[in-house]
Symmetry: D3
Subunit: 132 residues, 6 copies
Amino acid sequence: MYSLTVRDHFMIAHSLKGDTFGPAQKLHGATYVVDATFRRSELDADGIVVDIGRASEQLRTVLADISYHNLDEDPAFAGKNTTTEVLAREIFDRLVRAVHAGMLGDAARGVVSLCVTLTESHVAWGSYEGQV
Amino acid sequence: MYSLTVRDHFMIAHSLKGDTFGPAQKLHGATYVVDATFRRSELDADGIVVDIGRASEQLRTVLADISYHNLDEDPAFAGKNTTTEVLAREIFDRLVRAVHAGMLGDAARGVVSLCVTLTESHVAWGSYEGQV
Amino acid sequence: MYSLTVRDHFMIAHSLKGDTFGPAQKLHGATYVVDATFRRSELDADGIVVDIGRASEQLRTVLADISYHNLDEDPAFAGKNTTTEVLAREIFDRLVRAVHAGMLGDAARGVVSLCVTLTESHVAWGSYEGQV
Amino acid sequence: MYSLTVRDHFMIAHSLKGDTFGPAQKLHGATYVVDATFRRSELDADGIVVDIGRASEQLRTVLADISYHNLDEDPAFAGKNTTTEVLAREIFDRLVRAVHAGMLGDAARGVVSLCVTLTESHVAWGSYEGQV
Amino acid sequence: MYSLTVRDHFMIAHSLKGDTFGPAQKLHGATYVVDATFRRSELDADGIVVDIGRASEQLRTVLADISYHNLDEDPAFAGKNTTTEVLAREIFDRLVRAVHAGMLGDAARGVVSLCVTLTESHVAWGSYEGQV
Amino acid sequence: MYSLTVRDHFMIAHSLKGDTFGPAQKLHGATYVVDATFRRSELDADGIVVDIGRASEQLRTVLADISYHNLDEDPAFAGKNTTTEVLAREIFDRLVRAVHAGMLGDAARGVVSLCVTLTESHVAWGSYEGQV
């Protein structure tokens, strides 16, 4: 199995609902460094998993729709607890749609799975991995 | 599949038995930076894999029982070669017991697997991954 | 010159005032990984710059007063633009007061300078360094 | 499942063929930081996946045959597009041959899979993982 | 003293002249991760050293003129040994010209020094620091 | 001012004397990742601060005399508290002697200062910097 990962980041404000979250129930924020890992069994005709340039561009596009937002007021997250794991899943879903829409090129439709990892500090990170 | 990782570290003295280990057969030591990765298919009601706070706390508790020890004289490791891999397995076992005992919260019982990675230098690390 | 650095982090919401900041004028947030570097010419009687345990503890204490805050509503930052540089200076000032108050131990009064670095993402960080 | 990873690096010149690669079609170069991850279900008699010393040595040997080369003129890569993914696969193949040849020791023949990751910058990396 | 650092990277081919360089006398290449650190005593009216956005943009512009080049054939480096140190100096010079030309904004003319660090692998990096 | 840094590591056992050190008064150990930064105002005739190959080799030689030792029984450290700071100074002294002895080449005698940083975990490091 081959993989190709690109990295970018976004910065948001939010609060988390539930006693579990202690002080994080207050409005605060985070920088998330995002790693998107695309996987496939065989490379395309160019010898790649996906085009790094296009993958970076699509990741940037997806993150631009979230970055500098107060997620508590972002309709896309209405009724959701915007934990690291939930955000990883949301970015996964948006990137999968971009792959299906051909935004990473026709060859990228050969990607079989994707893992999105969000690093929130030097001591904690979360991810979602699923089929594309 | 979702994952959540927390990081901590511990520092120990030990020696390794067997010609394979060359100079590491002498009493020396190491810092191990520990990453504990919890995985599950679906998030709990709060939208998380495990509570980061509790996971960090339990990891700290497990490591506190090993840190600053001379493992050559620690009964827990009697008759064992305390390689990076063996230590990763031991910490895995102790964290699994903590999950089963409810120390990470009731919801954390939904965790299906755990990977414990010990980084011993900037050029070498080892891990153990198994079912919870 | 000797130095000793300890690392911790905090997570806040804020907005920045001024056209320069573009989308960062909106309420958003950040994780700041904080490195506090203490310097002195000669070590103390124990052979250290400062006690790592105490330095980590004081850094944690200082950050606990800021972490999980919406800085736009924190009186401590009223009328200030809470840029990375301004936050580095504020944490510097609070740590210097802790040194002078003996919170890092009497020997730590031998520290001559301090550098506080705030990493806001994998591609940007800022710092303030000054005499203690 | 246990794993053991060792890290090293190599530096090469090359050009990539295909419109996909844009400016990377010109002769340029890269540093690749290489992580080789060996996996097996049970440890050997010494309590290890593979001997770190031998694994590091074999990785260095494999990379020495590529490092400081202009891959456009290296017969080993004739007719191949030397993308990060293709290079990861080539290094995988060479390390697998080393395992089979007993170069990592007899016990290392218990290794069941290997993952080779090549980091080409702080924002992009690729890998190949397969059975040994 | 305040500082602000932005990070980017470039990838080039080159060869180094002189017996000192051993195998690096052959045409090979490197990825350089570049950190540009701007310093000044007092912040500008917005509370910053330089605008992160503009600093990142100017660094990208400077690196775009070098990236994907074979430096052996780049007139800008004719007669120079393009070592890590020499490249750090060249990028320093180009960024200083950008500061003086007002490309980082008028306020950025208050910057008093700049340090450019080029990381060529996980085990080696070089820098040049000077007045602006 | 130019700089060139090389990185390596060593692993030791030791105990620290004094109430300040709490549990670290017991025999334990550490991995130290070592960065040696050489500085000079002007580059040598080859366009370098020091030869990376020789610098790496001398650092490895210096660390080989310490690595895998129990520092409590190493005569070189008799009567010394082997804190991170003290170890940084000792490695500094040994590297300076290597420079003066011409072990890094004649040109390296132009080095004016050296900084040795020892990273003991992901959250703490210490250094010593002085004239060569």
